[in-house]
Symmetry: C2
């Protein structure tokens, strides 16, 4: 049985590893949204939206509520938002480092322009 816990976690992160799905979760931070609303905001076709939602649903990250013919989605566990926020912080730290790297590269370029190409 070793590694099954890690596999489960990996599956969870895999569900988050798509730009559209990240965006969806960020949109759902404001509260529930219908498929059409998501579709409009994201500017994607219906099928694509539905499919990405089904990935998140399959991992239990979002849940749906049906009203007539429209389906509303919500993030099940608010911890997901904390997770995204931490990711954002890590991302910001990383950006700073990248900026440092870039400016450093910039000064190296002044010395030897060939370094850039």
């Amino acid at each position: 049985m070793p590694g099954s816990l890690q596999s489960f976690k990996a599956e969870f992160f895999k569900a988050l590893s798509h730009p559209v799905r990240i965006k969806m979760l960020e949109l759902l931070a404001d509260g529930e949204k219908s498929v059409t609303e998501l579709q409009t905001i994201l500017g994607l076709d219906q099928s694509g939206v539905s499919q990405q939602l089904s990935v998140l649903r399959a991992k239990g990250i979002i849940v749906s509520r049906k009203n007539g013919t429209t389906v509303y989605y919500t993030v099940r566990d608010p911890l997901v938002f904390q997770l995204l926020e931490i990711a954002r912080n890590i991302f910001n730290n990383h950006l700073i480092d990248t900026k440092d790297m870039l400016s450093q590269l910039e000064t190296e370029k002044e010395t030897d322009p060939a370094l850039i190409s």
Copy 2:
């Protein structure tokens, strides 16, 4: 330019979406480890370990330090551990739900065994 931020985040999560890489990060929570150490603990072949490490390195999640011929790896931003901990909590909540679901299904099964298949 819309969505590039989400893409970046997605890339980050993608780096975490592999059982071996999760396990590596968990091992690195104790402090730096060499490739051989990781290889021994994980019970994988050298090439595989090196490859997974390079994925994490490419995303800037881990950094390396070289001493002679051995390379030591560390997680760059400790926030990563917080991230993993939150993921663990989400995972636990989810497990509880799953257990509930299962036991509920179990009682339903007593009523109507056909529900299981």
